[in-house]
Symmetry: C2
């Protein structure tokens, strides 16, 4: 049974300020919830139409109509869980670090987190203008990768000023990545969907790289930032 206070809490977690206040975030879908239950994350509450056979004090059985009422999805998927937001670990800077300069679209950030997981990028560093990684739409797109990537929100200018790693950035006018010698350790900066890398960050970039266009002159003016990140991370890793 869903109480009014449950509904109020869940609905509030759609907003970043309440996620920060309660230090909680929402996850939907049986598969992702099961993956997160096996991670080091701490479950706060599970609302489900079918029992997960976990410690009963955290599990609340609900009806499909109740799930529909609390779900953020058009087609709710059997369960919704609340997890505690984990503490941020310090940035290791041991290998390749991905830095995001004001990525706004939750789907893009979710896809990029999944790419970090695939390519073994331990540290994802986001400017404070980047969409919150505990936004439900981001969580939906990460498919559980959120537990395996260390995500920090920092003053990106300060971070890049302090790092000893070489700084690469994606720019339309950069050198083609296919013929650039890429290091194992470094920072790759990806810019905002509409405006690219900001002026303050651009001056800190050591090497501008780009993905060549093969279509005719009229072809699309840019790639989506998540697909561009996919290609660039692949280039760094392929050696």
């Amino acid at each position: 049974m869903l109480s009014k206070s449950h509904i109020k809490l869940i609905t509030s977690l759609k907003q970043k300020k309440y996620r920060l206040q309660h230090s909680l975030f929402i996850v939907e879908g049986v598969k992702t919830i099961k993956e997160l239950l096996q991670s080091e994350l701490t479950l706060y509450a599970l609302y489900t139409t079918e029992s997960f056979n976990i410690d009963a004090k955290n599990e609340i059985l609900i009806t499909e109509a109740e799930l529909k009422r609390i779900s953020f999805l058009t087609t709710p998927n059997k369960a919704l869980a609340i997890f505690k937001i984990p503490e941020v670990k310090s940035i290791e800077q041991g290998g390749l670090v991905l830095a995001l300069d004001a990525i706004r679209d939750p789907g893009n950030l979710g896809t990029i987190i999944r790419l970090c997981d695939w390519f073994g990028i331990k540290d994802l560093v986001c400017s404070k203008e980047t969409v919150d990684c505990f936004n439900p739409k981001v969580i939906q797109a990460t498919m559980g990768s959120i537990t395996r990537v260390n995500i920090s929100y920092v003053d990106l200018e300060l971070f890049l000023n302090k790092t000893s790693l070489p700084i690469y950035g994606a720019f339309m006018e950069g050198e083609t990545v296919y013929s650039t010698q890429l290091p194992e350790k470094g920072v790759l900066v990806m810019g905002n969907e509409a405006n690219g890398v900001s002026k303050e960050i651009e001056v800190l970039i050591k090497k501008k790289i780009s993905i060549p266009k093969f279509g005719d002159l009229q072809a699309t003016e840019s790639l989506n930032v998540a697909t561009a990140t996919a290609i660039l991370l692949s280039e760094f890793r392929r050696g």
Copy 2:
């Protein structure tokens, strides 16, 4: 002014069967509409809150409230246009052909069309189970690339049976793409989001390729199909 019959037509175009019946599709947003007006597509009607200074018989000035009523977007963007669905050109098979086996997500298809445009892929061949490329969500994600890629919906098994090009396919267990010799001319098959390439198509693949995973064993089990397509097309083109 919006008449009831306009509203009825626009609303119906959300559904594939009415798009086919009328041979019309919807485009939203000033930037994309302007791009399409400069293409070989034929405008059927333009509903806009600010005049585009085009032939007045096709332009209907509306209020923001009216736009909100007909828009498919949460935040409507000043204009909505109806264009005629162009005739499909025959498949050239002159270079690299991308084939999609039952891609279901409109955002993924839109991103893939934009990738084809970027990488100069002229022919995109879709199985009949693939989401319709004139779906409003696909159009939204293509950013105008829809006019520069020749998209055909075919019996994919039949098409692959008949082509003389070498057929490559993305498979988890495939040979790493980084060490595979890739031809300039060929077909690359990408499979469905949940199930990958279907059994009937798998037997027609000459060479299975994959993108290696660099994260630890627990890392995400797969990449999103649009990001995987980005990496593979980049590999075919980088030479």
